[in-house]
Amino acid sequence: MQYLLLIYSAESDEAKQDVPAVMAEYGTFTQGIVQSGAFKAADRLKPVATATTVRIREGKTLTTDGPFAETREQLGGYYLVEAADLDAAVAIAAKIPTAKYGSVEVRPTWPMNG
């Protein structure tokens, strides 16, 4: 199965981190899942201040500043991984460095060819 691991953290907590150390941890983590074959895709997102939300209502395109939901924790990046089951996906998610101060949501994806 494929799982999307959505990485959330509060920008205030993000500011407290030792950035080079966290980046190094991410490097090690990514290398690990590339080697194990679990890695499918990943991206780090620019800060939430750069977000724009789009809706179509009554045929009109409504474009607004900011994310869809105002929450304390913001989506900051993701990994798409292949895992045998939820336990395996959770084990990978638990190794994401941000899990120590933020949170990681584990979501199975719909298989597109099934």
Binding site: M1, Y3, A83, A84, D85, L86, D87, A89, V90, V106, P108
Partner: protein
């Protein structure tokens, strides 16, 4: 079963349902990889048994139920996907056929034997499911309770409970929750999750008297878990704790259904067999691990109450000591409150009251009726009647169950008008 009366197919089937229903379901879920298919297959197998067992019940009812249930599940798959492609049908059949070979090897099977019931318990109590869903699924599948009974136990409509079960099973499927006993590195943590679900079944049943059968289900689950994973202090501890509390049930309510406090209970009504079973578990539970499981320490406290022939004979000093241990192991405001209440029995209400007041001031137990009830009792014993009355009013407002409410009203009446 050999001495069953002739024509006793029905009683034989009832017996098979009680003894093998959960295990057969657990195996069918493994074979089919699907809770609903397994449930339907088993249901049809029991319906078939009503006819087939009339002449002679099979030597091995469990194997019979599994074989027929598996065949019916296969039929079900064929019907379900008949309108889809032939290829999809063949694939699904091949998957189920492949599952019949019992040659799977995983950590848990190697360590604990191939036990489908254990798999079922761990899957139902997977931490990715909400606790209320875990409990509902466990009662429905492991305890074979009808949906209506599970709904009644949790004070929701049958429809709501059915929806809850459907959603839980859908999440197991869609999220890829594995059907297995967790590997060693996850096992301790996951056992604690299962115990939390079992304890929730017990405490919900414990507080509300009419739902007595759920306490029996919780004890039954813990007994099974203890048999499947022997020698675990947390499992033995929880089992002992529940047995020792449940043993007091006959004395906990009077003829009118009113609550009788521990100190006023007729100890002759306590269930001696349950107490003996519980007491025998306390030692091994405490010794199984260092530090001991909090459940084992709580069981040891319950054991001291159970062993006191009369209330004054209670070893309160040792109970205070055990609460202090418990506070170190798993600090919580509820334990602090119990510690303070026990302390009042050793050093008097005046010594305990400041602790209870401090606890109330911290606000961690807002909405918990036992906090004002303990405070009220201490004030009452100190002769501070008007403050005690106010505290009993608080407790009355927060009490969730009728017997508790009646008890607080009785205390208020005893204290008289201001």
């Amino acid at each position: 079963m050999a001495d069953a009366p002739s024509g006793g197919a029905a009683s034989c089937i009832d017996d098979a349902f009680r003894r093998h229903g959960a295990e057969a379901l657990a195996t069918l879920i493994r074979l089919t990889g699907d809770f609903d298919l397994a449930e339907e297959g088993l249901q049809e197998a029991f319906a078939a048994a009503a006819v087939a067992w009339r002449s002679a019940p099979p030597d091995n009812p469990r194997a019979w139920l599994i074989a027929v249930g598996r065949r019916r599940a296969l039929d079900q798959i064929r019907r379900r996907i008949a309108y889809r492609s032939k290829q999809a049908q063949l694939t699904a059949e091949a998957v189920i056929e492949a599952q019949t070979a019992p040659a799977e090897v995983d950590d848990a099977a190697a360590a604990f034997g191939d036990d489908d019931l254990l798999r079922l318990i761990f899957t139902c109590c997977h931490p990715a499911l909400a606790l209320e869903a875990q409990v509902a699924l466990t009662l429905r599948t492991v305890c074979s309770l009808p949906t209506a009974s599970v709904a009644r136990a949790f004070l929701v409509s049958e429809e709501t409970m059915a929806q809850r079960l459907v959603r839980a099973k859908a999440k197991i499927r869609a999220a890829g929750i594995p059907y297995r006993t967790p590997p060693r590195e996850l096992l301790d943590e996951r056992v604690l999750g299962v115990l939390a679900a079992i304890y929730l079944v017990f405490t919900e049943a414990y507080a509300g008297d009419p739902r007595q059968s759920l306490a029996a289900e919780a004890i039954g689950l813990a007994r099974r878990l203890d048999a499947l994973l022997p020698g675990r202090g947390a499992v033995q501890g929880l089992l002992a704790l529940m047995l020792l509390h449940e043993a007091r049930r006959p004395a906990r309510y009077d003829a009118a259904g009113d609550l009788v406090l521990l100190e006023d209970q007729d100890r002759g009504l306590w269930n001696a067999a349950m107490i003996a079973e519980g007491l025998a578990l306390v030692e091994p539970a405490l010794k199984a691990a260092t530090p001991p499981s909090p459940y084992a320490v709580q069981a040891a406290i319950a054991a001291l109450h159970a062993q006191a022939a009369t209330p004054p004979a209670t070893d309160w000093r040792q109970i205070v000591g055990l609460y202090a241990v418990l506070l170190k192991l798993s600090p919580s405001p509820v334990i602090e409150l119990n510690h303070a209440a026990a302390l009042a029995m050793v050093d008097g209400p005046a010594a305990a009251l400041p602790r209870v007041e401090a606890l109330a001031a911290r606000g961690g137990l807002d909405g918990y009726d036992v906090l004002p009830a303990v405070r009220a009792d201490l004030l009452r014993r100190l002769g501070r009647a008007s403050e005690a009355r106010a505290a009993y009013q608080d407790a009355l407002r927060l009490a969730r169950h009728a017997p508790e409410r009646r008890f607080f009203r009785r205390r208020l009446a005893e204290l008289g008008q201001p």
